[in-house]
Symmetry: D2
């Protein structure tokens, strides 16, 4: 028997880039008793969340909700649109892009992996011209889909999806456009329809502030048409019957009822705050975080200021410092969880999540935990980072007060 | 915005055969904040639930837990063990067996569907001799797997899995043995190892008393060996990496953390009560339910007393009565949800769930709601069913008190 | 360390006449984090509940809410309005009336205790003519207050408060009129203003469906005027500063914030259902309960059909049967809590609560538990009581369906 | 209808000196369904919390738990031990001491109010020699009780209770010793038995981390003996029957069941951490807070370093600054609640609570909110306070790591 009392006095700071802290409101909504998934109340719930979640994807098209975690939605995007042996162009933005490519191989697809060489590729996001060049060269249209990660959770780089769309269009290539915004949705602006994305993949445990367990495919009509021809075997992930039944608010098999309660509450929170305000809040906190890191004299993993993520910030360690040793001391002494370096970045960085249910003061607590932990671990710092972060947040607050006056 | 206040004063009775009522204890456990799925506390939680859940399956082999609802675990069982074009022998016990067969077809398998003809087949459970005959005839061993539903949720028939095992052995056939006990687990006795099952499929929202959202594959070494040869494409469902990482209590991708909290609490409840006591409670309530139905003068869907389900009871309507009209009046007037007739039984029966978090008094409330609703709907009843049910429960209570004295 | 897992599988039936079962909705509302009781959100909450709770008392006058359980509100009613040595006329309806009298003595008042002799007095409720006679005789107006219990929780008798008011008026006596409706409020109709009550005492854990912990004094202008003269020492219970601060939604000392969240939710539930519907539901369940008791051939404690309580029903045991032994077997075997016989009725009766968050099916479960327990305990019953209860509930349902058609 | 969604995205920081933030664990424990307060499970719960809570008071004597908020426990302490017209010696430590004195007057006692003159008296805590002098002068022993506040919530001064005990003893005076540690208990060391306190008054919503609603009187044998003679009228607050029934785990009237669940969980948390560790954590956070205030160049309300409170810190504003305007901007912009200046300190200071469920990072968030708010409000600061606080916390962490190595 486990007692659910994992943490000592005072709030644990869960500052990994997802799962993000689940607000009390959502945990309470999720504890409403499970109802009959074939009864009239459920249908009303289903219609409500299916309609409102579209606003977060900025789409008028169907959004399929799976009772499965985010990795499943990756598989759904591929298996609904592609056939065994199909070539797909994927872009190496970091560790999660690499995992998605590995999945494509497991499913019998032929992924081509574009990207800048070495670690540098992980620090700069998608280079649309590389995609455009490759598609122009594919005169036979062997490439069936372009797959890109919007917000790379392993690095803290948010690629420019609109630019990728323009690159595909410039090449005049008919490939489907599949985008993973598992960690970007409801944190960074995202426009499924405007950007001409064919399948957007997302999950519950990041900007939507839910526990893990449901995931999404926002689809285009082009994707639905492709699914009629796609030959990868599929049943659980198959869009057709789900989209059909969703018209009445139900699902062909048992949905994750309690997470849908949570989704309803999360949509209340996000739409009440306003999507633009949500994005601005994330941008503000991310900028404050970066100013603290720079004041410390440490490098930010994202090397191109234009694509620094509003969701998380990767902090590079000086030579000779094991980032996981720093994380460990912060965890043990200050009860805060940070993200580890993944794949090529193992041991060389840690990741600070500032997403979802966060605000100026939770960020300041987070930065204080990092700074004290860095000092405990013996990392030399140029200066305290907190005054720099506070100066920025204060100036933003002043501007907001002036604007409101 | 939806307000989570679906039901009027007094408790709603959720008496469908799953999702079953989720106990308060489990809802509370599930509202513990989501933690880092890569942190040390999570590993301890993972090891704990992975080990203890084996007791419920009565197995020493790995049990794979998916962050996906039960239908996904069906797909996992097939895609991990079989190759495109493989013949599988499936048995038509009812609607869910039919859906599993449909899934096998979608995945590119060749299911053969055995069973007694017409509705009669849905009323008697698996006939092991039909399986034995078919396997004996398959001298080339074209059949790669035998797939059987243990407890048919659409009918209320619990087939004899040990007898199917004996039939396979008697035929000397090497086919894998795949069993769905989504609605049977933790209600009816089930013995993965003793019965030589290769893959047992189950879900969270029935006997485990959890909301929907996680599902299970208990596997055998033979199944694991088969998975090395199986050629159906798979990634999310692939056992290999999951089983490997589970050794340390972690998962390769994000698990459904909060449902694992719930599973830990559910295991406390089930193992504290004792599996045998859990089974005896279900048997007692099912027998009381059947006595009430007989007193009403109505037919029970399960025509063979040896295989009546301890989980649910199907109640047949007299000619000319629409079972769904009865369900509707019960729902609207008495705030109780019952299961509809599915597939071949549409409109001809309703299903009473008596599973999971239930006891003598919740059953009596359920039977009272049925009886009053039947009368409101104009169904002629031979007599009140409640005295018959109470007489049985009272005699059982007397025997228990005597035994304890 | 205590683990909060007091009950076995299946819902515990808490059928004592209070605390009544707390709905999930209210428990969830109460788990909203405690806020600053001097901040702006609290003021809005305070104003809201202070205003809406008046509807339940049917008053336009102030309702004082104490962060204390119901017994405290008894003391508040006395200490705000009376002076040491004052004579008060109290009426012996049962055990709780007796306790209130005992409290009056402890506080230095001089209670006179009216009532019919022996047990008979506990079975018939207040006899207004006895009060009228006594007041007429008090030509010097030595009696400062008349204190009556509306719904006697120890017996199941609901006295006619309007008739007591008429009796006081007929006697032309200026005494204050103090009424305890701790267990009657929000179950039985109650009209503070119309009935000219000066102080109404109530609590949270009965018809309001909350846990114990807050209590109420609804007051009249006459009572407030009396408090200016009353000389019993008081501070915590003093109305003056509370009523003054309540005008802005705040309290002079720390209120029970989380129970006020629960009160807000309870008021939503009660006012959404409609007070008249709430009362009709209680009347219907009480009548069904009494029909079952009569079918068993047992006596109902309340001997006057005109004043049987809609809140609870007292069931008398035949000679030689210990009611507490019956309660014990019901508790142990059927996991249901019933009320014990109190004071003069100790061992001779048990009490069935049917109040608050209850409906037709929870009542049927309750009656089934009683009937099976009575049989287990060897009490001879004339017949099963459940068919009688169901016949009544079915006829009520038919009438409601016809009215709605 | 109020929706319980008072705060915007990100956690609200409740940093008033009580109610303190209620941990999730406690809110969950409190949402266990209310049980029969006369049933066997309740008795076990009652015995458990009554026994374990003694450890927090460091007493072997009875601790009376009231279903009422803290102000009630003040009244209980006075009304159980004193008679109308009794002289009591009270000490003016601040606003709450003044309120207790006002209560004594309301109850018909004759309080004498000792203390240093003007605001200075509020900045230095109890001066034991003043008490000793006054008691020595009372050769007739007219003074029946000495009443002192341990931790003055309005100022942030923690008086030396052991020294007051020594003063009473030095004067050889038989007066009872009544101490209010409502906001000190389970934050600052407190020793009911060792310090010879006769009645210790406390409440739930501070160091015990519970919502408001229950309160305490820890008593001595001398106090119990006094209560036999005391003539203030009392019933709800009377110790006698409560202490008697508590021996079996029950209460004479309805206890606040759900807050007792919360108390059980709070005791788990406090005793698992260890009382000495709890005290050390509070001391550490308070010292870090004071270093930040000093770095800002602002005055701390407590003028004597020996008695600065580990529970809260009062921050004085420079001339011309309205402390409540600062609080307002912090509340509106940074979603943090601070305590206002009370009584003589109105508008001149704000109070930072650092008590109960708090840790290094929640303190840093709190200090950041104060610092940014002070700047927004135009308060000139000498320097950022956060580096000073972090330097101290880091040095403490280093020392702890060294000690653990």
């Amino acid at each position: 028997m486990l007692k659910l009392d994992f943490h000592p006095a005072g709030r644990h700071f869960l500052q990994i880039p997802g799962p993000s802290p689940v607000p009390d409101r959502i945990l309470r909504a999720m504890s409403y008793p499970t109802i009959d998934h074939r009864g009239p109340e459920f249908g009303a719930l289903g219609l409500d969340v299916l309609e409102r979640v579209k606003k977060v994807f900025k789409t008028q098209q169907p959004v399929v909700i799976y009772p499965a975690s985010g990795t499943g939605a990756w598989e759904a995007a591929l298996s609904n649109t592609l056939s065994p042996g199909d070539t797909v162009l994927m872009y190496e933005t970091g560790h999660f892009a690499t995992l998605w490519k590995k999945m494509a191989e497991s499913l019998g697809l032929k992924p081509e992996f574009l990207g800048l060489p070495g670690i540098e590729g992980w620090r700069r996001g998608v280079q649309p011209q590389l995609i455009e060049e490759r598609l122009r060269a594919d005169t036979q249209h062997a490439i069936k889909a372009v797959c890109v990660v919007h917000n790379e959770t392993s690095t803290g780089v948010t690629s420019d999806i609109a630019a990728v769309r323009r690159a595909i269009d410039a090449a005049g290539h008919p490939a489907l456009f599949l985008v993973d915004t598992i960690s970007g949705l409801a944190c960074a602006d995202y426009r499924h329809d405007e950007w001409g994305v064919d399948v957007t993949v997302s999950g519950s445990q990041k900007g939507l502030m839910l526990p893990p367990g449901i995931s999404f495919n926002a689809v285009s009509q082009k994707a639905i048409a492709a699914s009629a021809q796609a030959k990868l075997p599929r049943s659980f992930w198959a869009w057709g019957e789900i989209i059909e039944m969703n018209k009445t608010g139900y699902w062909p098999y048992t949905p994750n009822t309690n997470l849908l309660y949570g989704l309803s509450e999360a949509l209340d929170m996000i739409l009440d705050e306003g999507l633009d305000n949500v994005f601005a809040r994330h941008e503000r906190l991310a900028e404050a975080c970066r100013r603290a890191v720079r004041a410390w004299g440490l490098d930010i993993q994202c090397a191109d200021p234009a694509v620094c993520s509003p969701v998380l910030t990767g902090v590079m360690m000086p030579e000779g410092i094991d980032a996981d040793a720093v994380r460990k001391v912060i965890y043990e002494r200050f009860d805060m969880s940070l993200g580890t370096g993944l794949g090529k970045m193992k041991g060389r960085m840690f990741r600070i999540g500032h997403l979802g249910d966060c605000n100026d003061l939770t960020l300041m607590a987070t930065l204080a935990g990092c700074e004290m932990g860095l000092r405990l671990a013996g990392v030399p710092l140029a200066a305290s980072g907190l005054p720099a972060a506070m100066a920025y947040l204060t100036s933003e607050a002043k501007a907001a007060l002036k604007a409101a006056a």
